[in-house]
Symmetry: C2
Subunit: 497 residues, 2 copies
Amino acid sequence: MSFASLDALCRRLEALDHAQAMLGVDEAVNMPDGGGEKRADAMAALAGMSHEMASAPHIAEWIDKAETEDLDEAQQAAVREFRRSYVNLTCLTSEFVGRQVNARIRSEQLWRALRPKGDWKDFLPSFENIVALAREEAQMRAAVLRLDPYDAMIEQYDPGSRADEIAKVFADLKSFLKGFIPKALEAQAERRAKRPLKPFNATFPIEKQKALGLSLMRAIGFDFNHGRLDISHHPFCGGVPSDVRMTTRYRSDEFLSSLMGILHETGHGLYEQNLPKDLSPWPSAKARGMAAHESQSLFQEMQLSRRREFWEFALPLAKQHLGAEHFKGFEVDDMLAHVHRVERGFIRVDADEATYPLHVILRFELEQELISGKLAAKDVPEAWDAKMRDYLGLSTIGNPKDGPMQDVHWPSGAFGYFPSYTLGAMMAAQQWAALSRTHPTVSDDIRRGDFTAINDWRRTNIWSKASTLSTPELMRQATGEPLSARHFEAHLKERYL
Amino acid sequence: MSFASLDALCRRLEALDHAQAMLGVDEAVNMPDGGGEKRADAMAALAGMSHEMASAPHIAEWIDKAETEDLDEAQQAAVREFRRSYVNLTCLTSEFVGRQVNARIRSEQLWRALRPKGDWKDFLPSFENIVALAREEAQMRAAVLRLDPYDAMIEQYDPGSRADEIAKVFADLKSFLKGFIPKALEAQAERRAKRPLKPFNATFPIEKQKALGLSLMRAIGFDFNHGRLDISHHPFCGGVPSDVRMTTRYRSDEFLSSLMGILHETGHGLYEQNLPKDLSPWPSAKARGMAAHESQSLFQEMQLSRRREFWEFALPLAKQHLGAEHFKGFEVDDMLAHVHRVERGFIRVDADEATYPLHVILRFELEQELISGKLAAKDVPEAWDAKMRDYLGLSTIGNPKDGPMQDVHWPSGAFGYFPSYTLGAMMAAQQWAALSRTHPTVSDDIRRGDFTAINDWRRTNIWSKASTLSTPELMRQATGEPLSARHFEAHLKERYL
């Protein structure tokens, strides 16, 4: 039975994944610095074993034979997804992987050293090498997958998503946002003239912030029997579906950045916790990809937790945990003024939900040209600046630190990843629209802090599907239509105008 | 190069060990209950991979060939130890290992359920099976190792230790203790008549206890850049040499049990942290075995930290961290009255350093007879009772919960492990004697909280040797004589009479 062989292999790979995931969490949360070197050795060795096992040549035969065996639907989906991941895993030669891993590590290290100084000149040779390798990689992937080179890169992160489809929705969104943002800023100024932003002038002890975060996570449906919340320098959602490890970072002069971060990561956590547990070793039972995952965190953060009804529910809890004395005269509108801020800025990770997509579209457009060869690595700063001026009215010329040197993605060789963020934002808005159609009382639910029906919808339509469908097909089946920008645009208009 | 193949294998095994060690720590310290099932699956799969890799048949050839290669001393030691561990790992048939693993898991589970009720009758069939398997195991090991069956079992835990040598030292110690304990109890009563035991009537907040524990660990030489202290239900010292994870458990009504536990585990931790780091993947660079490890924790706890000079150093720190108000009228003698208590009892893990060896000798004598077949599993309660009455004047008849059902070792199939505890205690006393001979000012060092010279001696004579010598040879080289009971006996007389 070849399927049985694949199944046994999946169980071993799951154990290695489990170990790597938990070692990663421990490294970020608990590990003393001196443990780092040996930890890195162990992680590299485990990754090597995992790759070796998952890419062994005889697996191709197992997959071929398994496809001829008498399998149920779930098993067929597992074989399908196993083929997809096997092909993606094996389409690069090991000679190339060796060259690329080295170049990536060196480039990322160099970037970390040069970024604070904004030293583009010294970074460029390394970046040119990375771009050349990415082009080579895209060609290799494209040849095996029979896709366009850039599509073959996206395929790693969002199976089934294609650049020409993305470009259409992004073009729509871009033209909308260029007109929308000035209007949103104007509307915001008017609101603030009527109701000035109330600052928090208080110290919020970490223990109290944590208690508030935990109480909201619990209300939202995070299962603390299968997960926990810790502290790390960079917040993340890691671990395994049976034991999801979320982290946050607290600052005591304000509580909203940590709290909104917790709510965002809880969206990732719910997805992981609600994947089909009994099929967990199979690739078909894993989360679908980066855009789908981001759609879940943004659904939680943007669609649910920055909504007025959510703050009708959450403001009393915040008062209770943090002390009502810090919220004197605060109404829900005052909280919304904090969580609905629009501002043009240089830095993607600091951007709000309205300006964020323009940062992503800029990168999407540039990396397509980088992969196709239309754009040379050395010309990136000028191209970046031109688009920043066009989309956000900001110039980054002479300021590469706040321009093309701000993200780790390209220095570490990840091309094709950026679109996921904005695909996720649009998917989240479209899911919210679909959910609202079938559950007209959803706003009342949120106001009461009752997420049962909402989570049932998400479980049925997204979480339980895991990787049995491509990213576009997952969206089509969940929402009854292909991905479009219109729901996200409607959402922005409703919230900010 | 066969040595190069062994070396590469060692690095992969080290990564798997690293993962298993850290997953074990995480399970005890952080994991939510619901994560347990998948964690167990992952641990079992990693253990399986590790065993498969470490016992592959071609390794025998690598070892043979490596022995003919031109190797330096450290490499030769690595090959020697690799052969020893390979032979120990492969001397059981996989058919037998399968049967035994199942029986052990079921027997341990049954024991956990029946122990609270002291239900020996229902446990007996499972225990008889475990004993039968242990006899079979001992025979198999003996045939390959050309040792007596019980020696072959000990060999897993303390390479080079032999039952007849142990029996001689234990006989000496037993006859000493049977006379010594009544005298020690009498002397204790006299001391208490003069100076009644001062109770602590206070609440000691966990944070303050932790700060005291950390300050003593730091003073003693624990490296917090390569380790940390956490909380778990059962205290342990785990992790890897580059990242030692110690745990304790606090109760707020007293601080000494947790503190002495921390000092004990710190002894284990120092051993791990001071193994030769640059050779870490090789088996020759690991800690020597159970007795050697226990000698390090007991050296720290019994030889150093229950000594008068240690409390001259530690009492001011305890006052500083826990609050001087709880120590009103406390002198060093009052602390010593707490940490030098002798009391006959049923339970080994609750025993003091004077009565503990009798618990061990009882088990050592019974398990030899169990393995040889002289004693039947069903007759253990009577044999246990007879020895308890003889050695400690306590009867356990009709009370198997406080008799043969108290320990996890036999129910989980571990025979040959028990002697390690008392071997460790004697080794620690003998190490202290050797250290005191070469460093006459050692008591002053302790009084000042300066452990530099002490740790230098331990590093040179024990820690840096790792597994390059057998347990008896390690002791011989470190102390200039073979293991004997006399230093431990002298230590007890000095402390308790």
